[in-house]
Amino acid sequence: MKICVTASTGTIDAQIDPRFGRCAYFVVVDSETMQFEAVPNLASGASGGAGIQAAQAVANKGAKVVLTGDVGPNAFHALSAAGIEIVTGVSGSVKEAVEKFKRGDFKKTGAPTVGDHAGVSKTQR
């Protein structure tokens, strides 16, 4: 199964980047083999709709689970529609997160955890 983790760099040892739509990279990990692919998040600088653009990228990669810090309402809606399980409040490294997930340490998030535009600094808006 493919697990997508939002990360600050494109490696499996990278720290988790907590902002789903604005993270630097998606590290997509195959939970059986621990092989991974790093996908730069093209939405990280988008002026609007970053959450949806990011969700689309993740869905296109065939991920079934997203491990991240926070997710906004649009991204939450989109990911859920694509049948992707969302886990928020995750920290540490990508590898640790995936291992914890495999052990069943996480529970699924049932609602968006931040409001609109939460990952955008005032000056960007």
Binding site: G48, I52, A81, G83
Partner: protein, 278 residues
């Protein structure tokens, strides 16, 4: 003549200036384009004649024709569409109604549907007509409403427009096409800061403008110095007076109770007329 009354920030008395000016001259149509917080009607207590909904067009995806190819969501530069393996989601608040997704969909699965974003209110207060737009709560789309308000413009009248504060898209949409822009400012460092930004925008747009200093006497001389340096006419000063402030807080346009101000606003309007002709 079309005159927009604007200010770099909210709370400078912009609406008060627009309303007092409108009441002091004849044959006026007042357009309140401050659609996020329309309040000219609160000073005028007009009779509401009718309301009209304002729509934008957003895509509607026929899920039976759609094969989830993702062409539409890839195309949409506003990221208003999301393709999942079993349907396409539309995010109306991000859609700019460009219609592109309809054209690019290889299955012709997309048609348009109406998305209500607010309404227009048509009002009358004696011989003054007022049109104001109102944005529905939670719809971040003031520009289409401003456009709808401006469409109601009656050029046979003296048109006065109350602009949204600030200098971003809503202000630019409002002031576009005006013969003149009145900038209401306070003589304070904040007022000056916002005034400078607005002046830059108006110079780029080539809309002539002048300044009305509200609450004159509260701050310093910097606004005056700046206007002199930049050759910007100061058209009127409204002093910081208890009576004016009191009338304002009771929702009464002060020129109604202080007739000398009706004359001052008439002079303001004829001065603007002269500047426009120049």
């Amino acid at each position: 003549m079309i005159v927009t009354v604007a200010s770099g920030k909210g709370g400078t008395g912009k609406t008060s200036v627009a309303v007092n000016l409108a009441l002091s001259i004849e044959n006026v149509q007042l357009l309140d384009c401050d659609v996020e917080e329309p309040n000219a009607h609160l000073f005028l207590h007009p009779e509401l004649l009718k309301t009209e909904p304002v729509y934008t067009f957003i895509p509607f995806v026929n899920q039976e024709l759609c094969d989830h190819c993702g062409v539409c969501s890839k195309f949409c530069q506003y990221h208003a569409l999301f393709t999942s393996p079993n349907n396409v989601l539309v995010f109306p608040e991000l859609c700019h109604s460009c219609g592109g997704c309809m054209i690019v969909c290889p299955k012709k699965a997309i048609t348009e549907t109406k998305n209500r974003i607010g309404k227009l209110n048509f009002c009358a207060a004696e011989d003054l007509t007022l049109v104001y737009g109102e944005l529905e709560i939670g719809k971040p789309m003031s520009v289409p409403i401003i456009k709808a308000v401006k469409k109601q413009m009656d050029k046979s009248k003296n048109v006065i427009i109350d602009s949204p504060p600030g200098t971003s898209c809503p202000f630019i949409e409002t002031v576009r096409g005006s013969d003149f822009c009145v900038l209401v400012t306070e003589p304070t460092p904040f007022g000056l800061h916002d005034l400078k930004i607005t002046v830059q925008v108006l110079r780029k747009m080539i809309v002539p403008f002048g300044v009305v200093v509200n609450r004159a006497g509260v701050g310093d001389n910097k606004v005056y110095e700046y206007c002199q340096q930049e050759n910007i006419p100061i058209l009127l000063e409204i002093p910081y007076q208890r009576k004016i402030a009191e009338l304002y807080s009771r929702g009464i346009p002060f020129s109604q109770e202080m007739p000398e101000w009706t004359e001052k606003f008439q002079t303001l309007y004829s001065d603007i007329g002269k500047l426009v002709k120049k």
